[in-house]
């Protein structure tokens, strides 16, 4: 079946409602998914959950801006970035699910807060609700995409061919995300007194969550050759952030660290207060009406 335009395909025929986003086939359908010999599969599954949850939870946060951004183009931009990250999350959760015996939907919608492995930077509330600000969301996008891009550029060499392929593909998307955030940071930082003040405040808001991005987790240490040691990314990411902040006339905030709970943070399933509210919104439909489709 083919159509002269995309809207016609929404109007009729079985299986014709793809644009509404349900009824997808599995994210890695037909991809060669052999596990490399000698890899610790449980650790690989945990690692895929870490990287997948970072993308899933940040995607949910970005989607909150849709229809509430400062301009229409920005609604579309943040939603597009969210969609790229959601695609990366689907593939990574599917890879984790092969080991765990679960589907991507079960992992996204039926895990509880303590089972999520995302970093705190992905989950904190930077708006559009009360207390948040578009500039803080841009600051988070700048830090997150600079870090993930550096990570994915190394993950291309992973001994797991599926992770390597996901990274190779995602890298190109992340380069667009980082450029978008960097250009907004310069525009706001080098703009009016008010935009400069708010961009600087946005950086101060997210900076306590930067340190966690570079802390090596035992799961990463167990996956030599498969995972990327995040500690190895620090100087590259610092260099990128320095270049952006300098062009924007902004000051790098002091390196404060958000509190951990008995040494644990997001990678251990210990989250901040807002995580439960985020999951309630993300999961309630699936949990209220299991298997619901549009």
């Amino acid at each position: 079946m083919s159509f002269d335009n995309a809207y016609e395909s929404l109007l009729g025929g079985e299986d014709a409602h793809w644009a509404f986003g349900t009824g997808f086939s599995e994210a890695l359908s037909g991809v060669d998914r052999e596990f490399p010999a000698g890899v610790d599969r449980d650790a690989l599954a945990s690692y895929c959950l870490m990287l997948g949850d970072d993308a899933l939870i940040f995607s949910q946060r970005l989607a909150e801006w849709c229809s509430r951004a400062p301009e229409l183009e920005e609604d579309i931009a943040l939603a597009n970035i969210a969609l790229d990250l959601l695609g990366q999350a689907r593939m990574l959760l599917t890879r984790a699910g092969e080991v765990l015996g679960k589907t991507e939907d079960e992992l996204a919608y039926l895990r509880d807060e303590r089972e999520f492995r995302n970093v705190h930077l992905a989950e904190i509330d930077c708006g559009p609700g009360p207390g948040g600000d578009f500039a803080a969301t841009i600051a988070r996008l700048l830090v997150f995409s600079s870090w993930r891009l550096a990570l994915f550029s190394r993950l291309r060499g992973s001994a797991d061919p599926v992770l390597a392929a996901i990274a190779e593909k995602g890298l190109k998307e992340l380069a667009y995300h980082r450029d978008h955030a960097a250009q907004w940071t310069v525009r706001l930082g080098d703009g009016t007194d008010e935009s400069h003040r708010r961009m600087q405040a946005g950086l101060e808001r997210v900076w306590p969550f930067v340190d966690e991005l570079f802390a090596t987790h035992p799961v990463e240490a167990r996956l030599s050759g498969v995972a990327v040691d995040p500690a190895s990314l620090r100087s590259e990411v610092d260099g990128v952030l320095e270049a952006v902040l300098s062009a924007a006339g902004l000051t790098r905030p002091a390196d404060t660290k958000a509190a951990r709970v008995a040494g644990m943070a997001g990678r251990d399933g210990v989250h901040t207060e807002v995580m439960g509210y985020l999951l309630a919104e993300m999961q309630h439909l699936h949990r209220s009406l299991p298997g619901a489709v549009w």
């Binding site: 079946m1 083919s2 159509f3 002269d4 335009n5 995309a6 395909s9 299986d15 793809w18 644009a19 986003g21 009824g23 997808f24 086939s25 890695l28 359908s29 037909g30 991809v31 183009e73 920005e74 579309i76 931009a77 597009n80 970035i81 969609l83 790229d84 990250l85 959601l86 695609g87 990366q88 689907r90 593939m91 891009l149 550096a150 550029s153 061919p161 599926v162 390597a164 392929a165 996901i166 190779e168 593909k169 995602g170 890298l171 190109k172 998307e173 380069a175 667009y176 980082r178 450029d179 978008h180 960097a182 250009q183 310069v186 590259e236 990128v240 270049a243 952006v244 062009a247």
Partner: protein, 163 residues
Amino acid sequence: MTTALEVASAVRDPELPVLTLADLGVLRDVSEVDGRVVVTITPTYSGCPAIDEMGADLRRSLLGAGFSEVEVRLSLSPAWTTDWISAEGRSKLSAAGIAPPSRIGPSVAGPVPLNLVPPSRQVACPQCGSPNTSEISRFGSTACKALRRCNACSEPFEHVKEI
């Protein structure tokens, strides 16, 4: 007799229906083994919601053409690049008022360069042909398109952005 490759090559992209999947470069392989057809496609972007519809359209077209068994496989590596859009595909995009992507060449190893200002690509206006155009937004109506305007004829237009 029509081959499976011919049938698969004629299937259109659900989001850019002026292009076939072959024009777009997402159709990577079609092989026929004992009447069983294996089609390999690759997504444009990780979150592209059209990928399932592409698979379903390929299946419907091939079954409709008399092939009894059809399997659609996804390939992630090598990652899709706009350089795979065919010359014919580029002409079709221009004719439809969508600026085709520039050629970017193979990706290089090492750190990805940061762009603090949008890269100044020469994107000609598909309406009047003027090279004097500017980017309105890097992100447009679909993941693969940016929004630009022509500074000569003032028309806004879409541009399949380089990736």
